[in-house]
Homo-oligomer: 199 residues x 2
């Protein structure tokens, strides 16, 4: 970018590695960091280092945490008979924001995706089966995304879990709140009709 | 964001201070930095610190530089009789990419903007007048942006520089290369007609 400024160019290169940030945005961010107060730029750098040092994955549910096991796994108010299975920590956060689930979680860290070479051994499936052996689980709520890979992963897990006699549930599939039927894709409308309920 | 993860939340807060990055993007970037290799996250943090430590503004032209004065100011192949005045270092880079100007530069670091409380003393105008006293300048190319503030700044500078007997020029104003007249705004078309040249 700027021939004689190796340290600036290096920062632009590092920022460009971030998802959704291309060369132009990276240059803009680097200029911002150059203009910001020294304390502000330093605070960002230190926040990255501190986060990497402190945040790990819970050895039980694989959610992000600073204390291991995480505060959800150790919360006695949580229903230990229910486990919600999600793809990513972000999905867990989305369900927590809904306040609709008070059990525990298990984060797979991905979904089955043969085309990308991601099989069962690349996900946190073995630790899940171990949890089912030692925890008094009565219900597993499958909350993988409603994508081809998410559905395939839910199906795969159901094959593993059903023989254990645990109740298996799946997030309801249908029309989102506040939306206009006119603009909903046909597959969703079809699911909503097929899964219609008494009113 | 995530109640029990102060270091993660702090990183999200720091990332949210960057221009064009809101809470959701900041969370996505923080998760990326959590998943990236420790070396990669560390490289980003160190690049921020190193850039801040090494990059400064040239004491002569106020472009970003690691060596003071900058490589443009000290390049003997550059025509020292011409100075191009730009708002920001990014604008200087745009002109350098065009390979059309082989003189030196002066970066104002902003434009006059009374509504934002930015007056002449907030820009690098006094150092410019000092340069004109000690450098053999014959031409000043005004390359502030073609916005209200950029034009006002160019006009203000012309009032200061004209009495010194230096030739004043301005970037040509007209239709950009590769563009379709149909989609060009009326003000630009008007300028292009008013400034039409022999062919």
């Amino acid at each position: 970018m700027i021939g004689s400024l190796p340290s600036f160019d290096r920062l632009v290169a590092e920022l460009s590695k971030l998802p959704g940030i291309g060369g132009k945005t990276a240059t803009r961010l680097a200029f911002h960091l150059l203009r910001a107060s020294r304390e502000d730029s330093q605070a960002l750098a230190e926040a990255v280092l501190e986060m990497r040092q402190k945040v790990r994955f819970c050895s039980n549910c694989f959610h992000v945490t600073e204390a291991d096991p995480c505060t959800i796994c150790t919360d006695p108010a949580r229903d230990e008979t229910r486990i919600c299975i999600v793809q990513e920590p972000q999905d867990l956060l989305a369900i927590e924001r809904s306040h609709a689930f008070r059990g525990r979680y298990h984060v797979l860290h991905g979904v089955l995706s043969p085309l990308d070479g991601i099989g069962p051994d690349d996900l946190k499936i073995a630790p899940l089966l171990n949890r089912l052996k030692r925890e008094p689980v009565e219900e597993i709520l499958l909350a993988t995304n409603f994508t081809v890979e998410g559905e395939a992963t839910a199906l795969y897990l159901s094959g593993l879990v059903k023989p254990l006699g645990v109740r298996l549930t799946r997030l309801a599939h249908g029309i989102p709140t506040g939306s206009d039927l006119e603009y909903i894709d046909a597959a969703t409308v079809q699911q909503a009709v097929d899964s219609r309920r008494e009113y």
